[in-house]
Symmetry: C2
Subunit: 418 residues, 2 copies
């Protein structure tokens, strides 16, 4: 049923390369209109204080949509003439539902960049936008059972049917992916860089699996991921240190939704999550601040030291006595495990920070709980471009580890791995 | 195949009403964030010079998408259990392709409001975004032949197959509808008002046809048009004279694409165009200025007279001798037919307008070629709220005329009308 010829893939690559070359020209061409529209940021890690156009992810996202619109008819080239009889409707539906969800997230991301939406608005639309995706999953795949790891099999049996829970898991995948990329951010090039490494890992996995039982799923994923990777490259170019443009929430949402779409409809969402190890680590490490157990400043990106030109850990300043009980415990554990850098501030400085109320409570400055700050704790003050490289190398190493879990270690906890 | 029960329509109405009531609260709640994001305009027809939030169509458009995402599963309720066997894939595909095109246009419209896109960008994306729509048309309907009017039948036969041309026509429908609404604009409430009248006419036509041969098409159209009409109402409320918010290109694009989607996939696009008579008149009347045969100022909306508080025709000032030849002919014809108001400016004023070069060329001020200015020529200076009413009454009358052509006059030029 599915058109097996290789030519759609070649066309896909050609269209993507064309779009990327258009992107190389469009991004600088659009800079001024973005700044005129007050869509700009000041790079806090630079001395210049120049205006940098924000939300430029919208340009490559629009190019991605155009590539896909032009491409969709071609995988079905052989079926166009025999219309109703044997047309692979389920496959066309996959494309439509995927692009619908992705387009919806691009729209939401751009609206967030422009309007600074609240959390509740940022959760409702992506959740609803994944309904069509889940419907198509139900119709085309519908499998909700997962294999139980060997040590737990005596308890649950070989397979466990998660039923509705599996749909809840998939529905929250989009929200997780988008926000996971969005919070591993703050230095030039890191959002696009990590997304492109994840994208490349997904592509490699798809190619490995292409000869397996689920050729169709992995070919579908390639049709989306290859354009994603290629059209992202001009953005990486302009977003690399020193950034000419910022990518905005738009790009993070676009990337996150594209990953979850191929993970869900390609039925390899668990493998895909193995490529999110740095994001998961960053998320877990951030939790105490996200849940406000420990005070969370508005920006947690590393701090630029204008004297050395290097980035240092940024700090949250607070009095330990004022933390909630859970916060005190977390703080103690983090300090014991040397997972944070803590400086006890001298008392006069404490008073200055104490906003007019005279307190003798000693205050501490703790490094903010982000993976990037943690890297800075390990390696010391670092130049921004080098720090981006560290994050990306870590992403590559984690993804290699992910491949090893998927294709090496999985044999020890599951009987058979397809 | 198609789920015939009436309950999906009730659910559709309920969801839409809920969304509309949310909209009534969200629009004023979002006003500040839009103004903070520099998305505002100054109402040129008011004395106050107050900032009015722009692009608020994006709020109702997002609500529309949410209603549709929640609604889609329900028309298929009866088919969910018998998955692959007899699921009505083509019908689900219609929803997905429609929402994809609409979502894409909302995104483009919002980007246009924020970034003031150029014409070429505004033409490419909607054209590509209609590819999925045309694919679904090909698969689900595929008819490209149109009935020839009786007087021409001796020449062409009873039916003529337009083939590829019919797809080109449908592809340009979206571009036409969106821009047609966008240029019949400039006074409070007129964009939403006309869209709601057109929407109501489409709904009435769908209800008339519901008992006919194409029940499915018209039910599909109702599923989209009813939410459109209902969620638009809070926007009309806040956009009505004196406007608290402006609707933006976002709303015009959203409305135009929704109309063309139901027209194309409901296979009643020619009937739908009958409800666009005022827009077509406005478009044709505007052509000399759109093609720059006659100079076109940036804003062509009526001019506010602060002394009387009434709107008067806005004028384009130029020297007749400087017009291109075609422009001179058009100007002569328009003047002869009394379709424009022309004032010959006294010579000293001509000199003042002539930007430092001393010219003795007599200049004229001609009313701008918009339907709204033409109404002002007929009725004289008018209050803005009353003028909006005139446009909407004209829209209603033209749509009644459209119904008469469709159900009355069509009998004279076609043998049978379904
Ligand atoms: Mg934001
Ligand atoms: Mg505009």
């Amino acid at each position: 049923v599915w058109y097996v010829s290789r030519s759609p893939m070649l066309l896909n690559i050609t269209l993507s390369l064309t779009a990327a070359s258009v992107g190389f020209q469009l991004i600088p061409a659009f800079r001024e209109s973005f700044i005129t529209a007050h869509l700009f940021g000041i790079d806090l890690n630079k001395k210049t204080g120049e205006k940098v156009a924000e939300a430029q992810g919208v340009v490559v996202a629009a190019l991605f949509l155009m590539v896909m619109f032009l491409f969709i008819p071609f995988p079905f080239a052989a079926s166009w003439t025999n219309r109703r009889e044997s047309f692979p409707f389920p496959q066309l539906m996959e494309f439509l539902a995927s692009l619908l969800s992705i387009c919806c997230m691009i729209f939401l991301g751009f609206a967030d960049d422009v309007l600074n939406l609240r959390w509740r608005h940022k959760l409702i639309l992506p959740t609803l936008a994944s309904i069509p995706l889940l419907m198509v999953y139900w119709l085309n795949i519908g499998r909700t059972s997962v294999m139980v790891p060997l040590p737990l099999q005596p308890l649950f049996g070989e397979w466990i049917d998660l039923g509705f829970l599996y749909y809840a898991y998939m529905g929250s995948l989009a929200v997780f992916c988008t926000n996971a990329i969005n919070i591993l951010a703050g230095i030039n090039g890191v959002e696009v860089g990590q997304s492109m490494v994840i994208g490349a890992s997904i592509i490699i996995n798809n190619i490995i699996q292409l000869s397996g039982d689920h050729t169709h799923h992995h070919r579908f994923s390639l049709y989306l991921m290859v354009p994603f990777l290629i059209v992202s490259s001009p953005l990486l170019y302009y977003n690399w240190y020193p950034s000419k443009v910022f990518v905005g929430d738009t790009y993070c949402y676009f990337a996150g939704m594209t990953f979850s779409v191929v993970g869900i409809l390609g039925h390899f969402s668990k493998t895909m999550l193995l490529f999110f190890i740095p994001q998961v680590l960053n998320f877990v490490y951030s939790l105490p601040q996200l849940f406000r157990l420990i005070p969370c400043p508005r920006h947690r990106m590393p701090k630029y030291n204008p004297d050395t030109g290097l980035l240092e850990t940024s700090k949250a300043v607070f009095a330990i006595a004022e933390l909630p009980t859970a916060g005190k415990v977390v703080f103690k554990v983090l300090t014991r495990l040397r997972l944070v850098e803590v400086v006890t501030l001298p008392c006069e400085e404490s008073n200055k920070e104490g906003k007019n109320k005279k307190t003798t409570e000693p205050k501490v400055a703790m490094s903010n709980l982000t993976l990037i700050n943690f890297i800075l704790i390990l390696v010391g003050p670092t130049h921004e471009a080098r720090l981006t490289w560290y994050v990306l190398v870590l992403q590559v190493l984690c993804n290699v580890f992910g491949f090893w879990i998927r294709y090496g270690a999985a044999g020890w906890i599951y009987k058979e791995v397809s």
